[in-house]
């Protein structure tokens, strides 16, 4: 654990920044004292259950709810039309993703259902079990239609068009071409190529999506408790689509049991729960069950990428070409669109390498499968697998060690800020440093010797490397400029309380990543108080400043900076006030350990409690023309770049049983550069968790659809998530290159692990298989796929 280059920042900002402190708020979670949405009980709550389309594509000719409506405990049964009367439909397009198209989507399917799992009828009852009983009694006459279930054929003229009004099934397409591609490939020393497949994944937050909507008709006030990453986005959406005044919509995010992007989208079932609360004038709760989570929580990452790389005789990458295709759901997601993966894959193929000759195309097609959109590390794992897979193939083709090949191809350290051929700018990466550090940490050369020795004994181990980049701290270029009311800035309001405590309300959200602890540490450092004296308020649109919430690894970098600035401003206001009271200059004062002191002598002038008491209760001691402002608010937006790029590299060591195709992970290493580290304990486990999610994709996870569009493994029994037994120990180290776009210097760390792990695992497997001259590029790398590559089946 090192934070060498960040040390100057750490000194500036006091003792809590950089400290690996346990999260105070984790303590109650460890005692079963969390409060998740389903734990909240309101009087007269109705529980809603949905009847969903069993077909991927089917017309709805009749719905009979008579029996269900009279079933025990049933309060109301509604279909698409009734909900549509209250809730405006939505269209998941963004103006700056030119050409992205989609159709109007309603909370419940209207005349036609377009994926297996689309909600069709909602039943509200006194209990969940009674709602389920009634749902069993609903008859729907279906007219099954041919489903579009393969991106490969979605654009064929023989495929049905999912939305005839849109003309075809192409949702989005983008191409870039720097020119010179054909020439470099024609003249290259070696050209390597491969087809990479990644599977559709589902995020599997352990707490399912949950919402408790409480509409009070007497004041037209809607209060929503929701397991969400984005309270303000939800507030805006709910107000807009239900025609409510924004100020009469309050969204509260209690404890959130995992997000990973699942909980930043609009879901028809959740909107229906809100509609039902408005219809019934009583609280309505919807908690997705695990089986419906599999067919409704947004999927991601089902890409097919054909790619090739040209290399020179000296081992320089001289050209890359790639063609990406993936299928989303039958609609582009709302309000973020489903084309961001396309953008990211197109931008990030090429990774931290200095190649400037590039041609890329990405196409996004509609399918009759579950909705699809942003999930942790949007597009990164795909781009990284393509790039790093090609890098290993290229190194092998010219007989160079893959580590050496990478090192010589990284963007030169003096080239930053570096503009990518696709447009985005990397502010500053530390790839050479990270690389050197990784090889040290994993003892790369010794590992190579061990591998060699074991190979002679018929034991096939592989070493895989994957350099990665991660986009974090997004500017308004991601959504706001495209017309979505999703804030790119965040705010913090800090208040000195009457007994000298501090409350700190922030617009970022806690979803388990440790936002509360990070905010606490920054606030304590900025003001000069101990963490015990600060209370963090989070996740409530009625009380926190306006902001974007949690997505895109933005909480610490953007929200954290707002906290820092608010804390500094509050500190300044306190010092100014005390200077006035003590007839001195604010510039000679400091706050340390909850007291205002003379900086030079360390002499305590007033405790913060005395400051507060004077300000709030003893106005008589305050000069007539002065008003102490002991509440301050500051906001921050990152405006310099589209996003702040972080970087790093991962190493994977594993063993392939060449007779069974089973892979055993032995060890994993990560060097990450997320700029200033606020709390290494949080960053390290964040990265490990990301790595394990990436390993899930590489070895286990895959939403398998039948050709009719039925999800074949939609339960936790059949969809394989990584469990403790198969996971390796993961060693994490750091390089720290603070961003210059903020005083705090923090960048994101949420995507790094997931971005690089699949590529590292893939390269390690292929390294193990090298003696057999075969390689695998289709994730997940199941025993069967490995056996097939080996020609054993």
């Amino acid at each position: 654990m090192t934070t060498d280059t960040a040390s100057s920042h750490v000194k500036t900002h006091g003792r809590y920044i950089g400290a690996g402190l346990p999260r105070p708020d984790a303590w109650r979670l460890l005692h079963g004292r969390g409060r998740y949405t389903d734990d909240i009980k309101l009087a007269r709550t109705a529980h809603v259950v949905f009847v969903r389309s069993p077909y991927a594509h089917a017309g709805i000719s009749a719905i009979n709810v008579t029996k269900a409506a009279s079933s025990a405990g049933v309060i109301r049964v509604v279909t698409g039309k009734e909900v549509a009367a209250l809730c405006q439909p939505w269209v998941g397009v963004l103006t700056h993703l030119k050409g992205l198209k989609s159709a109007a989507q309603y909370p419940l399917a209207m005349e036609r259902a377009r994926w297996q799992g689309e909600p069709v009828v909602a039943v509200a009852a006194e209990s969940r079990a009674q709602a389920e009983d009634a749902a069993q009694l609903i008859d729907i006459d279906w007219e099954p239609l041919t489903a579009v279930t393969s991106p490969d054929t979605a654009l064929d003229s023989r495929s049905p068009v999912i939305h005839p009004d849109l003309g075809d099934n192409l949702a989005y397409q983008r191409e870039v071409d720097t020119g010179g591609v054909d020439e470099v490939f024609a003249g290259a020393h070696k050209v390597v190529e491969a087809t990479f497949r990644t599977s559709r994944h589902t995020p599997v937050t352990l707490e399912p999506r949950s919402i408790l909507a409480d509409y009070n008709p007497a004041e037209r006030q809607l209060t929503v408790y929701q397991s969400t990453q984005v309270p303000y986005m939800m507030q805006w959406i709910l107000a807009k689509h239900f025609g409510l005044k924004e100020i009469n919509v309050r969204v509260i995010a209690p404890d959130v049991g995992g997000g990973f992007g699942t909980k930043i989208h609009i879901y028809g079932d959740e909107m229906t729960a809100v509609a039902l609360s408005m219809m019934l004038g009583r609280p309505v709760k919807f908690v997705s069950d695990r089986l419906e989570s599999f067919v409704t929580d947004f999927h991601a990452r089902g890409h097919l990428v054909k790619a090739r790389m040209a290399v020179s005789v000296t081992g320089d990458i001289v050209g890359i070409e790639m063609d990406d295709l993936y299928g989303i759901g039958p609609y582009s997601g709302y309000p973020r669109g489903s084309a961001n993966e396309a953008k990211q894959v197109l931008n990030l193929v090429g990774g931290p390498y200095k190649n400037r000759v590039y041609r890329g195309r990405t196409r996004v097609v509609f399918e009759n499968k579950n909705m699809y959109g942003q999930y942790r590390a949007v597009g990164h794992p795909v781009a990284c697998a393509v790039t790093e897979g090609l890098v290993d193939l290229a190194a092998s083709a010219i007989g160079m060690d893959p580590a050496e090949f990478r090192y010589r191809n990284y963007i030169n350290a003096e080239a930053y800020p570096y503009t990518l051929v696709t447009g985005p700018v990397f502010e500053k990466l530390s790839q050479h440093q990270a690389h050197e550090k990784l090889l040290d940490l994993m003892n790369y050369s010794a590992l190579r010797l061990e591998q060699e020795e074991l190979r002679r004994q018929g034991i096939y181990r592989g070493i895989g490397l994957a350099a990665f980049v991660e986009m974090s701290n997004p500017s308004s270029a991601t959504y706001g400029q495209g017309g979505a009311s999703i804030a790119s800035q965040d705010g913090c309001t800090m208040k000195l309380t009457a007994t000298g405590g501090i409350t700190c309300a922030v617009s970022i959200n806690e979803i388990g990543q440790g936002a509360t602890a990070v905010v606490l540490q920054i606030a304590a450092s900025a003001v000069g108080v101990s963490t015990e004296n600060i209370k963090i308020v989070i996740g409530d649109t009625d009380v926190t400043p306006y902001g974007g919430g949690n997505w895109g690894s933005r909480g610490t970098g953007i929200g954290g900076e707002a906290v820092l600035q608010a804390g500094k401003a509050l500190r300044q206001n306190i010092l100014t006030f005390v200077a006035l009271l003590t007839e001195t200059e604010a510039s000679v004062l400091s706050i340390r350990d909850n007291s205002v002191i003379e900086t030079l002598t360390g002499k305590e002038l007033m405790t913060l409690e005395e400051v507060a008491r004077t300000a709030y209760f003893r106005s008589d001691k305050v000069p007539r023309d002065f008003s102490p402002e002991l509440v301050v608010t500051r906001h921050f937006a990152q405006k310099t770049y589209d996003g702040i790029c972080t970087n790093g590299i991962q190493g994977c060591y594993l063993e392939v049983d060449i007779e069974t195709g089973f892979v055993r992970l032995l060890k994993h290493w990560v060097i990450d550069d997320c700029g200033t580290i606020i709390n290494p304990l949080l960053v390290d486990e964040q990265i490990r968790g990301g790595v394990v999610q990436g390993i899930g994709g590489a070895l286990f996870e895959e939403c398998i659809y039948s050709s009719e569009g039925q999800l074949m493994n939609g339960s936790l029994i059949d969809y394989l998530v990584p469990m403790a037994c198969e996971m390796p120990d993961i060693e994490v180290g750091h390089v720290s290159t603070p961003t210059a776009t903020s005083e705090l210097g923090a960048k994101g760390a949420g995507e790094a692990g997931t971005a690089g792990a699949p590529a590292a695992v893939m390269n390690a497997i292929n390294d193990a298989l090298k003696p057999f001259g075969v390689c695998v590029t289709e994730q997940p790398f199941t025993p069967e796929r490995i056996l097939r590559a080996l020609g054993k089946v």
Binding site: R23, L29, L30, H31, G32, L206, R290, G689, E726, M727
Partner: protein, 167 residues
């Protein structure tokens, strides 16, 4: 109970408190704890017995709360995360989890702690591989599992050394 019925009165001890309650036969134990007793620390992550978030202890053995009917707990001693937190039984585990940030969102945590406590009580000499194996019945999507394994390992080592005391 040899006459079939849909409703029963059950009597059991939950976290050291005797409870008498009327339950529907179809209600599983985790729902009973949450909905009837308000013990929200027992979480429901899948309700088909895979994720482990609903792990509770019945007569000293860990079980999936979603795979046992409330009525089957008639006469039983049931302990939940709330109970074993309040009686201090797992204070060392909680401390190690906290120190290592062996949780993020916390949804799996009660189940993890119940499983870990069971392992430590039965096999304090467990090595790292055995700990990973034992803990593999509980799904965590946030951590990389490593800090959880580390925390359990540390408590195991302490327990194996001193024989006595809380876990």
């Amino acid at each position: 109970m040899n006459n079939a019925s849909e409703v029963f009165d059950i009597r059991l001890t939950v976290n050291n408190i005797e409870v008498v309650q009327r339950v529907l036969a179809r209600m599983h134990l985790a729902d009973f704890l949450r909905e009837e007793l308000g013990l929200m620390g027992t979480h429901l992550g899948c309700e088909h017995g895979v994720c482990g978030a609903c792990t509770v202890r019945v007569n000293g053995e860990i079980v999936r709360g979603c795979l046992m009917l409330a009525i089957q707990a008639d006469g039983a001693i049931v302990e939940t995360i709330e109970g074993i937190s309040e009686n201090g039984e797992i204070s060392a585990l909680q401390k190690e989890f906290h120190q290592r940030n062996a949780l993020q969102c916390g949804f799996c945590t009660p189940g993890m702690l119940l499983a870990a406590a069971d392992l430590i009580a039965r096999n304090p000499g467990a090595n790292r591989e055995e700990i990973r194996e034992y803990m593999s019945g509980n799904f965590c999507r946030c951590t990389g599992y490593q800090s959880i394994i580390d925390a359990v390992e540390v408590v195991c080592r302490g327990k194996a050394g001193v024989q006595q005391g809380g876990i």
